[in-house]
Symmetry: C2
Subunit: 559 residues, 2 copies
């Protein structure tokens, strides 16, 4: 089943910068940024396919994610982001089919998860950072191309008698639109479900007039007026957003790390985060180090630290580790999470960020939002996660969220060298999960009073109390610790990885559902199934046969 | 991949009655009913496995569904239903593993869907019919056995030093608990997600003391006190429910039908419903006939009609057709739904039922609840559904719901012989979908005012108006009708059935999510995926190897 980054090709790398983008152009002019897609067909991430017609692969999407993030940190004055194309008559043809057809099941699923997360970042920028994304479809948006548009707050389509929007995945490829297309149609854009059905089964899609009637787009203009009207609308959007911002951006410097390997094991060491992959056991150990210096006390001070601020840099490093684990270490089934450092220092950073954010610091807000995104990326790992709370750890405030991302947590109860947890206001709403609730709300779902009880706590929380309050799963003493952890880890590693992925996804998102949880909890599952079936990926499956003049052959059994 | 009812063995039949139950005993004593599981291991639905240890197959669950339904109609005075076992030390070992291992993917998925629907019926009886289900676990409840208990309002476990509750699917079988076990743990019973993780990975489960602490059960008693305490609790439950009811039940007579086949086609003809399977095209046509007589005007009159009342009988017949399609006609991919009859007569029946229900008729309530369940069964079909509204049809009130269960609806716009729709109060809340909203609420999700607009309508609605109001998808005129329908049907039949199932599931449940939609929309998808993977069903997969002394072999790639 084609390449797989874990087994074959060179590892995927995740750092990009605009001056070396191959597929996007980022142009900033006052309050308006323009992200122009111009895919270099000869620069795919892997050999074996050409990125024709502005189709994308993971490499294209890693650049997009980079641009979206830089817009928030480096160009915070931007109020409107136009997403458009440099290819005549083609906005974007979606994910590259040859790439999908040659990719392993695991890669396809991880690719979709990453593109989904990037679309969620686009929506968060609109909702939280006053950067409104506007899809300026100056050509056809098909499949993933239309899904990218759906992630924008508004969609405009050129009226040139040719350009259309479409989701041709079901009729042409026998798979689902994998980047939220279905969910956003009905749940976000509120397209009626039977109209959505018509749209999603019509391969050629709809041009402006019908698309407007069906709510697939929000407007459009003929070619003659297109540039002027889009520019006018962008300027209007900036005005509606309060005018060009006065924020001064910071530079997101490249992350540095050292790497070492020893047999099947691999260690990535960043200034604040370590990732040790024990390849022989399919276990990864992730250690986040707390801050060694006090936080900046003023917005200017924080700005001066820029991307070197612990709260930002540590989470950027953690984010890269998570992507490493997803794309370059598929075999790893269990992440052991730990922290090291001074809990008080972590809380001081949370204090400072929350205070500066409340005082109006855009950068403090962006740093906290970034932390939140990385935590949600952690919620989305298709790997089991156990946290270990040991002496010298600093699971406090934002770092305590790591505990509740995990499927289980173990805290050593050793009075001679106590481990402690500490809560902070950020644990009660700042860091929301995909379903909009905090991790503690999810943890105490339906347990009236429990949340208020822990909110009233002050000071460090020892192991026995943490267990009794339900903040950790288990608090074994030093006599039991080694055996209990060893058995838990060994057992976990022996189970079917598919069953674990399914089980964890069903247990992690308790309570209400939102667009996002539908994307990650439901769409992913259906697509996982479809991606596995011969009707899509078999020798005569629709995905395999795409472009072949022969028609695909289906087993018509309905499940 | 083992037997499949569509291709091999005799068709599944769905009618049962207590005097011929093979696996359950239904005993009614005043306000308390006792449902005792005593599986006849030598009476499986199919050859090839023994139903040891009170394990179940579809045959066992069809009897359970029958009992749950009869309790509501035939024994409406019952206020407490004890679910217990006649097998020493074993309440129920869950779904039979050999049966699962030898079943086709499609059968497994349909089996799980049916058992899920039955569990939802149990919960609805508790919530709506004042029949409170109490799981009296006088032995171990493993896997599906514990899931059956979770569907009950309360769970009690015997304290005999042996009996435990467990969900061993993930550790032992490499699949998920397929009947809502995960969702009900965290979303209904509100077990903390890390505790749920511990429970679901511990094959041997937990006995009373731990199970209580973990909220897996609500109480328990030692063996010496068990019978007396359960009886006392049942009596108390009856008291809390207002005492033994005074309702007199009606008999659910067997449905009659005639059957004819012609080549690959098969016709089932019931008094009010017809199912025509065009085997050569993978299309089924379902026609529901409206009532030919006016409704009973009084509760006594309705009671006198009993199961012969159109509103009950027609929906029982439709229900059986849907099960026929699921289990005996897997290849059918498209259902064409139509109605025939007098719309006014349908509305008169809705009027009468709603009025009698408001006046306190338990039977009117049960008939409407039954209609609602059948409509939800229709929502859950893994088949595409198109409604056709033609002259002489009666899509009115409850029958109009059929339209909105469908993925699309077509209404002929021919002024010379007009087709019409008619709405009724029942369309605005009586018939809720799995997410608690009415089908019209889902249809107009986010369209402020639309619901109020159609609510204000009176009288029949012609095609053009119905299309304009969004009540139907399309209203072609008689010139376009044939071509448009033919193309729509042909296209639908040409698409990948997997992609259609996934797409439809993502579009059908718009808006909020509930336990039920998580079961049918999310759990099903993950299980579909897992059921397909070699880690479960391959030669050395965990499900295949169950009982084999060798351990299963997994591909540990995490997806």
């Amino acid at each position: 089943m084609g390449h797989d980054s874990a087994t074959a090709a060179a590892p995927v790398t995740f750092q990009r910068s605009p001056d070396s983008y191959k597929h996007w152009k980022l142009h900033v002019d006052g309050g308006v940024a323009t992200l122009t897609l111009n895919v270099d067909k000869d620069a795919p991430l892997r050999d074996g396919y050409e990125l024709k017609l502005n189709s994308y692969d993971l490499g294209v999407d890693i650049e997009l994610a980079d641009a979206v993030r830089r817009l928030r940190f480096e160009h915070p004055q931007v109020r409107c982001v136009l997403v458009t194309s440099a290819v005549p008559k083609m906005f974007c043809a979606g994910a590259n089919i040859r790439m999908l057809a040659q990719s392993s099941h695991t890669f396809k699923v991880n690719f979709c998860k990453f593109t989904n997360e990037t679309r969620c970042e686009v929506e968060e920028a609109t909702a939280q950072s006053n950067q409104r994304y506007v899809a300026a479809l100056n050509g056809t948006a098909a499949g993933g191309g239309y899904e990218l548009a759906e992630a924008c707050a508004e969609i405009y389509l050129i009226d040139d008698g040719f350009s259309a929007v479409s989701l041709p995945e079901v009729p042409l490829l026998g798979v689902l639109p994998g980047t939220g297309g279905l969910t956003r149609l009905v749940d976000k854009r509120k397209v009626r479900r039977d109209i959505a059905d018509v749209f999603c089964t019509k391969a050629e899609g709809f041009r402006l007039r019908d698309a407007l009637r069906m709510r697939l787009v929000d407007g459009g203009w003929p070619k003659s007026k297109w540039e002027a009207e889009i520019a006018r609308h962008a300027a209007q959007t900036v005005q509606a957003g309060g005018g060009v911002g006065s924020e001064q951006g910071i530079a997101l410097h490249p992350l540095t790390r050292t790497e070492s390997t020893s047999g099947p094991s691999r260690t990535l060491r960043y200034p604040h985060v370590e990732l040790v992959i024990d390849g022989s056991r399919r276990v990864a150990q992730v250690t986040v180090h707390g801050p060694s210096a006090p936080p900046a006390a003023t917005a200017e001070g924080l700005w001066g630290q820029g991307a070197g601020a612990w709260a930002l840099q540590a989470f950027r490093e953690l984010d890269e580790c998570l992507l490493e684990l997803r794309f370059n270490h598929n075999q790893v089934g269990l992440i052991l999470l730990q922290t090291q450092g001074d809990a008080k220092a972590v809380l001081a950073h949370d204090d400072a960020l929350s205070r500066l954010r409340a005082e109006g610091s855009w950068l403090a807000r962006e740093v906290q939002l970034h932390q939140g995104r990385v935590l949600r990326r952690l919620d989305n790992m298709a790997k089991s996660m156990f946290a270990r709370v040991l002496p010298g750890s600093c699971f406090a405030g934002t770092l305590a969220e790591l505990l509740w991302c995990c499927d289980r947590s173990y805290m050593l109860d050793d009075p001679s060298q106590p481990s402690t947890l500490a809560l902070h206001d950020v644990n009660f709403g700042v860091h929301a999960t995909h379903n909009g609730n905090s991790r503690l709300q999810i943890r105490y779902f339906g347990e009236a009073g429990a949340l208020a009880r822990v909110r009233g706590l002050s000071g460090p929380i020892a192991a026995a109390q943490a267990e009794q309050l339900g903040l950790v799963t288990r608090a074994p003493d030093d006599l039991d610790w080694d055996d209990e952890l060893r058995i838990a880890i060994e057992e976990r590693l022996s189970f079917s990885p598919d069953a674990l992925t399914g089980m964890e996804q069903n247990l992690r998102f308790v309570g209400a559902e939102t667009c996002d949880t539908k994307l990650f909890g439901r769409l992913t599952a259906w697509q996982n199934w479809i991606f596995q079936r011969p009707n899509a990926v078999g020798e005569r499956g629709a995905l395999t046969m795409y472009g072949d003049p022969r028609t695909p052959v289906f087993d018509f059994t309905r499940t």
